[in-house]
Symmetry: C2
Subunit: 160 residues, 2 copies
């Protein structure tokens, strides 16, 4: 197995392509992880959530970690880890533009997701007051790629 560092460009491309990963926040040194969908820009990620432990914890401690990966096997994977800072995008004039940007990007990203939320909303199960748009400002990004050795990749070479 060969493990190498990914460039910043490769890391950002993976974030943009996957748009799905896990976010960890922490309170009193207790970490907490949840899966998230997001839309990405070069310097930030946009996300959406309903109120709950994740939002409460990020409000009290905005330092978060986001990880995305593609794991095909323990010797064949890519993983990008982002350290970032949470900022909420409330429905106020100050945040109007950022919020519109977030909504537009998230909608573009996954229409079927919006459709799902809209469907839930229609049936009165989605509480708009509990909907939170947020962004994660990217502060540090690192990525690693593992690939099989050429020997491992061809365990059964053709016999001559």
């Amino acid at each position: 197995m060969l493990v190498g560092e990914m460039s910043q460009q490769e890391c950002k491309e993976l974030l943009a392509r996957l748009g799905f990963g896990r976010l960890a926040c922490a309170q009193e040194n207790r970490p907490y992880i949840v899966p998230i969908y997001f839309a990405s820009e070069p310097d930030r990620l946009y996300g959406f959530a309903t109120m709950g432990q994740k939002i409460e914890w990020m409000r009290s401690n905005p330092i978060v970690c986001v990880e995305v990966d593609e794991v095909r096997s323990p010797i064949d994977w890519v993983s990008v880890v982002v350290t970032g800072r949470y900022e909420e995008l409330p429905e106020t004039d100050e945040y109007l533009k950022q919020r519109e940007r977030a909504e537009a990007l998230l909608e573009k990203r996954s229409l079927w997701w919006e459709a799902g939320l809209a469907a839930a909303q229609t049936r009165g199960k989605f509480d708009r007051d509990r909907a939170v748009f947020y962004c994660i400002h990217l502060e540090e990004i690192t990525g690693r790629r593992a690939s099989p050795d050429p020997v491992e990749a061809s365990p059964h070479p053709a016999r001559t």
Copy 2:
């Protein structure tokens, strides 16, 4: 979308079946996530890593979070979140039995992984002194399952 709690039994079954997830640790309220493979028993998970930030942080703060999920779409997923406590299994007489148990379970779980490590070891790229076996004692487990509404699940009912 309907979201419901999973029973403890369902959560443990998902952990045992997947054997793969993400682990978060924290230091000075900064969270850090990495993907991990593990073997599970009803009260603990066994894992294996080479020395690095994750192990250093867990040594200084053993409170960790492990999350496993199967996400088919934003309205169709299961996610289990475990809060646990890290314990290292060093190569000492005191930990011999636990370590043998961990090695046996991990080997059973993923022979191809062991094969990959063995291959790396053979070529002198795997440093045994940097290999760490550990267990995560399960303290709190919660799980949630989201499923489409019957209406969402059949968006195109047959016309009569």
